[in-house]
Symmetry: none
Subunit: 210 residues, 4 copies
DNA sequence: AATGAATGAGCGTTCATTCAT
DNA sequence: AATGAATGAACGCTCATTCAT
């Protein structure tokens, strides 16, 4: 019986291996420009093998997105249940996001790309991808924190919590994008990413204070 | 030389014609999924002719992006010279952007896509595209307005003007993206895009006030 | 104007050329085992060019079948209007078929294959092919000749003309198949194809005499 | 040795099992479109196992054909030794064939397909398949019956018995093909298959009568 | 200048076959 | 003996690009 179990585990490992290879390739070349050959080579497997684990390039793509999304979400799991007020939690989430972006820059990029996916006239599977990203998006957590903040009378109640939450999240992605994109500019201004992040928090949180 | 001139003008007209056709096609199907055949048909020219004016599909793509960028910039040209204070000008720019987004949603999408293009280490021409978008980005105008605001003592001087300007511009794109992406959500919250935009202005402008 | 015409004619020639190449390949290897590469090589064209003239391998296949069918039918066109009685016409048709089979053995093979196509569990386009072959099948002519024969009181009226016609046609294919398939056997029996054909006519025509 | 024997028997059983599975799959999807995976699944064995018993897909195909052929032949074994004259025996064989075609339409189709296989210069194994089908074809039995008929002075002696036999058999296949192929036509003519078969017998047997 | 026929490299996917376990 | 994971050579089809006219 240990055999069947180990086999299963090995199979999962292979799947992970392929997803990791696909991640690398997708992120470095974009989905459309990535070929199954590229991925196979990166994974050091034959192309046919990929199809043993994923039924199509698209299926593999979805798995990659899913994986990335759940990784981010996981890194935020704890925050919601901390013994902090809403503002502290929002800052914690921000820091967790930044940490994630530093640790896994490629994956953060993919998240930002995905969240603006509808911008591209994407063919086939946008709806599926949206589902995936929506289910795994941290925005759900943010909504609940904002609701808590409204209850605590810390956050203004005149704007619906979900709107506030989405705005916060989008602005969060905004800074991250800025820092990762315009690093040269930041250096030229003799600033550090940390300073940029901190002033961002100050500005936006101030904006929502009740 | 009149002849040579007219020839030149005709050539430019043809180029414009092709760019317009390409725009339509790229925006309706995405770059990768658009074929030179599609564009040729839309332009009512033969495929070979396209290569007389653009040396590759990529070259045509860059031209389209360039065109779109300069169109947005043009729509903001006047604002800088208005007899308004910095805050009024920033609001004017915001409104101009929103108007542009309403009038040419596809082109606005392409701008947002481009501004986050560097997220993908996209293959071939990212550096060229960056140049294009940077040169044409309205952020240059915003920088000058913020500098004016600092001089007017309306805007806080403790953060470098370019940083403020970039932040403002990124957040601007952020709301536009939000409105265009999450329109269903906005309806569900019984809000209108205008309300979303107005509260955005209030929040971010308040943040930078000196 | 002559230019456009000539172009059109050239285009038709190319189509013919491809069809002829495809014929060769399909008949020598069977449809499924023939590849577009094979056909392209036989036609001395690039694979892409084939798709300029035929939208798929299947489309090309149908064209080939069509061509072959109409070639056979054409070779029988005159017979129906001869000044002969039904029996003489049937013999004429038989001879025309044999002549065709001698002149274009590959194409005759394809006709026989097609007429029994429903035997194979053919996928996709059997219905289209059936239409093609039915429309072009000489059986239509045979039916009209048998009807004439019934009117002339030469052919028995107790069996419906179409049934007789189909039987005749199927038996005709039967001998052709026999001669082409079992030529060694025929030689061993010290017979000639002609003798086999003649005794066939005698037997089957005798059977339908009124 | 009992052990070795049982092993051998078991091996044969497995082979039979696989052939039966392959039969199902080949007949329901056609040879080219059937995959070893399909067959393995139908046999409830792993794909690798198939290669333990058959060295290739083609080898398996040949075995299937062989099996079908011998099944038909078996169903006619008894007839040759009946106490009937040649004509009665020929009718018996015809009826046996029809019965077989009714009971195993798919297998009958495959026989007919095979008998006209040489029409396609099919690739690989035609020669092997020919051997198989020739060895197992009921035509051998027919030849002996016709020879008996000649001796009995029932059947004309001016045409070599093998030629008559082959003609009869080919025409037999012809009707079966007709009935199975043109069933709609037969219904339209308000006929039954039985009537078609009976008139066939009448016609062809009459033709060979001495 | 303009055409459009021709090209050929490349793509996602399939599947007969092999081989380590 | 049996497995099933892995392979890799094809396949049908697409499309950016070239080039003779």
């Amino acid at each position: 019986m240990g055999v069947a179990e180990r086999k299963e585990r090995e199979k999962q490992k292979r799947k992970e291996l392929i997803i990791r290879a696909a991640e690398k390739v997708f992120f470095s070349q974009g989905f459309e420009r990535s070929t199954m050959d590229d991925i196979a080579e990166e994974a050091e497997l034959s192309k046919g093998t990929l199809y043993l684990y994923f039924k199509s390039k698209e299926d593999l793509h979805i798995s990659v997105v899913h994986k990335v999304g759940s990784r981010l979400k996981a890194s935020m799991m704890g925050i919601e249940n901390l013994d902090e007020d809403a503002f502290e939690k929002l800052v914690s989430m921000g820091r967790a996001t930044i940490e994630f972006a530093n640790k896994f820059p490629d994956q953060m990029k993919s998240i930002m790309l995905l969240e603006s996916f509808e911008l591209q006239q994407t063919s086939y599977s946008t709806s599926q991808l949206k589902d995936v990203i929506f289910k795994d998006s941290p925005v759900g957590i943010v909504i609940r924190i904002v609701e808590q903040g409204v209850k605590e009378k810390l956050i203004r109640a005149d704007i619906p919590a979900p709107l506030i939450a989405h705005t916060l999240w989008m602005q969060m992605l905004s800074v991250v994008r800025f820092v990762s994109t315009k690093s040269t500019l930041i250096k030229m201004l003799e600033l550090t990413p940390v300073q940029v992040y901190e002033s961002h928090f100050e500005l936006v949180l101030n904006g929502i204070r009740s």
